[in-house]
Amino acid sequence: SQTIHQWPATLVQPVGSPLSLECTVEGTSNPNLYWYRQAAGRGLQLLFYSVGIGQISSEVPQNLSASRPQDRQFILSSKKLLLSDSGFYLCAWTGQGVMTEAFFGQGTRLTVV
């Protein structure tokens, strides 16, 4: 069966520090991978998605970047965190079929102080 792992679960970082959140998927190959953010009181905002190794599309301009060094690994990064980067970050994957749902990781609660 397929599983998705996301870590760490919680993170407190000072303003200006770097960020690296990692997500890995097991039990499937060539997944579509996504990073979402849920800010307080808001819905899920798509940040990045990837349809293959090295292929990253960004949905919104921001202080973050994403990379996909391996087929089932997706990394969210920042060189210098801002206070506004605080939020709940979620990694998700979908299969290649037309009507497949997205499966989410457990999320990372990031607090920038």
């Binding site: 819905g43 798509l46 457990q106």
Partner: protein, 111 residues
């Protein structure tokens, strides 16, 4: 420009009664719709979906209705249970397979 809207941020329902969560969309290119349930500090979990060629899909206590002409879908939970208390997100997919989410509705089922 919100393409998927959940206009009710919260809903309270008595245990055993029906919960109806609503969702409206504006993009006529959406062809697949999903509902997710989310507990605090956890990732959303898939609940139920419906293709645009259908108007109803049922799975146990959960039924999703789609009204394409009104660009409206709803999730019915019958009977509601306290464990159903969570945030419910409506999502829609277009040809690119990206999901566009609504802002969520906090459902509270009162015992």
């Amino acid at each position: 420009d919100q393409q998927v809207k959940q206009n009710s941020p919260s809903l309270s329902v008595q245990e055993g009664r029906i919960s109806i969560l609503n969702c409206d969309y504006t993009n006529s290119m959406f062809d697949y719709f999903l509902w997710y349930k989310k507990y605090p500090a956890e990732g959303p979990t898939f609940l139920i979906s419906i293709s645009s060629i259908k108007d109803k899909n049922e799975d146990g206590r959960f039924t999703v209705f789609l009204n394409k002409s009104a660009k409206h879908l709803s999730l019915h939970i019958v009977p509601s249970q306290p464990g159903d208390s969570a945030v419910y997100f409506c999502a829609a997919r277009d040809w690119s397979r990206q999901l566009t989410f609504g802002s969520g509705t906090q459902l509270t089922v009162l015992p």
